[in-house]
């Protein structure tokens, strides 16, 4: 049984209100969901809150789930929609948005540490921290669809077909989005490679 089949099987149990199956799904996908949102909105606390919201949506939408689609594709579609809603909400509260976007390092100051960042050399630590911030900033500045395509392709390993399904577009459109995103990232990160 593949991981995907297993997800679908768990979802069928969630359909019947099985919370243990739901717990397994959350445990399995929490990191991917939290990080996809975090890389999009640059706010660790908000990312966790939205990730929980995504999983609650999964639970409540379970009766409508059809195992014809891969579970992760369905899950990331909910994640993508949640991120878009968050951007809409932030655009209505512009000040809040600008504040969060301008200080992606807030994640660290609020007690969050990116995984495995401990290095014995302080100078190297500072350089590494700056690199992390610049990459995060470069990703955050991409247009919505490009950003999601990059995150799903580069970090979550989704295929072009799966990304196309999440973004409701064609595979060639996904390739185009990734091409434009790579061009932008190349310019923004030029001094770091």
């Amino acid at each position: 049984m593949t991981s995907s089949d297993s997800d679908a099987a768990l979802m069928l149990r969630v359909k019947d209100g099985d919370r243990d199956a739901f717990r397994q799904l959350v445990e399995r996908h929490q990191r991917a969901v939290v990080n996809t949102i975090y890389r999009s909105i640059s706010d660790a606390w908000e990312a966790e809150d939205l990730a929980q919201h995504v999983f609650v949506q999964v639970f409540r939408s379970a009766p409508r789930y059809k195992p014809t689609a891969k579970f992760t594709t369905w899950l990331f579609t909910i994640v993508h929609n949640t991120i878009l809603n968050e951007y809409r909400r932030r655009s209505r509260h512009a000040a809040e948005s600008l504040d969060a976007m301008a200080h992606p390092q807030d994640a660290d100051s609020a007690g969050w540490e990116p995984a495995d960042t401990r290095t014995p050399d302080p100078a190297r630590d500072v350089a590494e921290r700056e690199l992390q911030e610049r990459i995060q900033e470069a990703i955050s500045r991409l247009p919505d669809a490009q950003r999601t395509a990059v995150i799903l392709c580069r970090f979550e390993g989704l295929s072009y077909e799966e990304i196309a399904e999440v973004l409701h577009c064609s595979v060639s459109a996904v390739k185009s989005l990734l091409h434009r995103a790579r061009e932008t990232l190349k310019e923004q990160l030029r001094c770091y490679y």
Partner: protein, 120 residues
């Protein structure tokens, strides 16, 4: 899925793409799963009525203003036309009262009478 070198336009693009891979994610905080499960039991947050969404509110206000404007303008136009028609009628009636026109009508009536007699 990692992209193959063939998909990159140049080495810089590939280098930037590989650099992205150095971005470290975050770990969900302790108790994330438990908190998520607890949220299942929370009542669904009551969403604010659609009417109060700022954009819709402005759109509705603009629509009301435009509707009132168009309605007022149309009513004013109709009243103007109605007044004009009334004035024209009065004017026509007054003109018809003048003798010349009555004489002309008498001549025409007489001619009609003559034509009728010739046909007989």
């Amino acid at each position: 899925m990692s992209m193959t070198g063939k998909e990159f336009n140049d080495r810089d693009e590939q280098a930037a793409w590989e650099l992205l891979g150095r971005h470290k994610g975050i770990e969900p905080s302790f108790g994330f799963v438990e908190r998520t499960l607890r949220r299942l039991d929370e009542p669904t947050p009551v969403t604010r009525p659609v009417f109060w969404q700022p954009v819709l509110r402005w759109a509705l206000a603009a629509t009301v203003v435009v509707a009132l404007g168009v309605g007022g303008w149309t009513g004013w136009q109709r009243k103007q036309q109605s007044d004009q028609v009334s004035a024209t009628r009065v004017e026509t009636y007054a003109t018809a009262q003048q003798g010349d026109y009555l004489e002309d009508l008498d001549v025409i009536a007489s001619l009609d009478q003559l034509n009728g007699e010739q046909e007989l």
